[in-house]
């Protein structure tokens, strides 16, 4: 048997819209895409913030509960001075760098997801 022409009348599988189009047309699926992105970014932002700022915010409590800690010396500086004048700043920059890297990565993943035809 020789097939001279492909079957064209049978229903073809529906070619899915790209994620971009789903989002632009405000479909349910588009909303799910967006909720996923926003959720991921919110989780990332909040965790970087809470870990970094939370750790900092523990210090006043720590120094109040245990005043002796204030007299402890690191590199010739009192512990509060060492922590707040020197140690904090590199930590903040590092946290910021980590956040930027992760946020850009999750945006790239989102772009790959929605641009898939």
């Amino acid at each position: 048997m020789v097939v001279t022409s492909p079957r064209t009348r049978a229903p073809r599988a529906r070619r899915p819209y790209s994620g971009t189009r789903e989002i632009n047309e405000q479909s349910e699926l588009g909303a799910v895409y967006m909720r996923t992105l926003i959720g991921a970014q919110r989780r990332l932002g909040l965790s970087v913030c809470l870990v970094t700022c939370g750790a900092l915010a523990l210090l006043p409590l720590l120094f109040t509960i245990e005043p002796e800690l204030g007299k402890f010396r690191v590199f010739g500086l009192g512990l509060p001075w060492f922590l707040l004048c020197l140690a904090t700043f590199p930590m903040l920059v590092l946290a910021g760098w980590f956040y930027v890297r992760q946020a850009e990565r999750s945006e790239r993943e989102f772009a790959e997801l929605v641009e898939r035809p």
């Binding site: 006043p60 120094f63 204030g70």
Partner: protein, 581 residues
Amino acid sequence: MTSGYAVVAVMVVVLGTILVGAYGLRVSRTTSDFYVASRTVSPWWNASAIGGEYLSAASFVGIAGLIFAYGPDMLWFPVGYTAGYLVLLTMVAAPLRRSGAYTLPDFAEARFRSRVVRGVASSLALAIGWLYLLPQLEGAGLTLNTVTGAPDWAGALVVTVVVTVNVMSGGMRSITFVQAFQYWLKLTAITVPIIFLVAVWQVRGADSLTEPEFPSFRQDTEVSFQRQATIHAEQEIVIRGTGVVDGERLEDRELLLTSGYHRIDGGSKFTFPKDAPVPHLSTMAHNTNESWSLPASSGADFPLYGAYSLIIATFLGTMGLPHVIVRFYTNPNGTAARRTTLIVLGLLSVFYLMPPIYGALGRVYTPELLMTGQTDAVVLVLPTRMIDGIGGQLLGALVAGGAFAAFLSTSSGLVVSLAGVLSQDVLRLGGVRGFRISAVLACLVPLAMTFVSTTMPVADMVGLAFAVAASSLCPLLLLGIWSPKTTTIGAVAGMLAGGVPALTAGLVTMFTDTGDSWYEILLSRPAAWTVPLGFTVMYVVSLATQKHVPAGVQRTMVKLHAPENLGLDGSGSSSSGQERS
């Protein structure tokens, strides 16, 4: 420490600012140029400009002064000012840029499609801006007074005039150049003297800065009292000079200052002998250098509450400052906005290493400021005090120039953003002319306020502006960006519930004397109760009014969060008013 070099340095900074501004004038032509520098600014320029704008009088002179007077509790100011940018980076930077908003009121309108939300946000932005401008002008007065002996109002007037002229002629384009230049100027001006001061301190035997002794005069020191001061002397001191002590007039003669409290009138000038312990201002805690260096040494009531309130205000307040927000529009996209913010974080971290060193050296070399109460002057006085001759004078001039750069740059940024709000929301005058009229008005109000406000450390005043921003505009931004459930009514209720009490508390602290009342700390550090109030009211009212979720909120969320290069039509068909012509 009147010094000719310092006057020259201040003049050079003022002229330099005007010249760089005029250079920008040639390239700013259209309204779009005036407002947002046509979005052609690279992340490094932008980050330097943000840094230049952000490092205000509070950062340059105020922090060192507070640390000098009150010890390590005040280190939360530099830490908080920097950590505020981490919060801004992680929660606000990219979505805010993507919203296309130029000012906070623009963001409010873009997110909630409501004139009412916009109006409330505008009023709050104006209040915060003016609250923030006031200490800049007071700081300028202090600096000019310290280096030339000019009256306090002169410095405020100079800053007002230079800023108004500069903003009116160049707008934002020139301001971006001015600001970027200012950051590097300020960093140089605070770092170079520190290198010399630390070297001198080391060469002279590196006296411990935390001895268990009270600060004492290192040499015979002539002290002039600008204002009336009530001081407490621990032991008898023989002083010599002209002035009024306890109501008794002295003309160039000796007086035995008995131990106990004394009132010295403004305009007095006395020489205190070498090695005598420094009497301290009655309102200030009396600490040995050792006890000063420990936490909770400031002697304030409820130190833990105070620390947390300061932490909350500075961590969350940064994002609500009107002049900070404006800068994000000049980034080409959300990703660039994030990178810019990260660079800012680095630039601020470098700068904030310096002020605590001034504060600590001041305990040993300029202790008399603890007695006159002019603690904010420690950065300005230290170089001439520690280094004799022309070297010290030149370094002093550098610091004075840097300080003036700080007032000019922060004030310029504030005036640009306030003028934007005024011309669009209050005067309703469009175009370049409306912007210019608004710029004048934005300057005049705080200048008038400098004549009535009390003398409060500049960093404390700035702290109040942060508290108002953290209680009102911060909930608006955070909940507006991250929760689609936030409603128009909720936004208005939350901003008012947090902002009005914080603002009232701030004004009461600034313009009245609350003295030693138990509630004084609740008013001078309001953030710990007003910020939770603002957030809770905004969230709860939003949940209760879910029928009033603004139309098209899904589209707005797409616009705020989706990367720009995907061609996502987030703003939908109802996009309007975002791009300025």
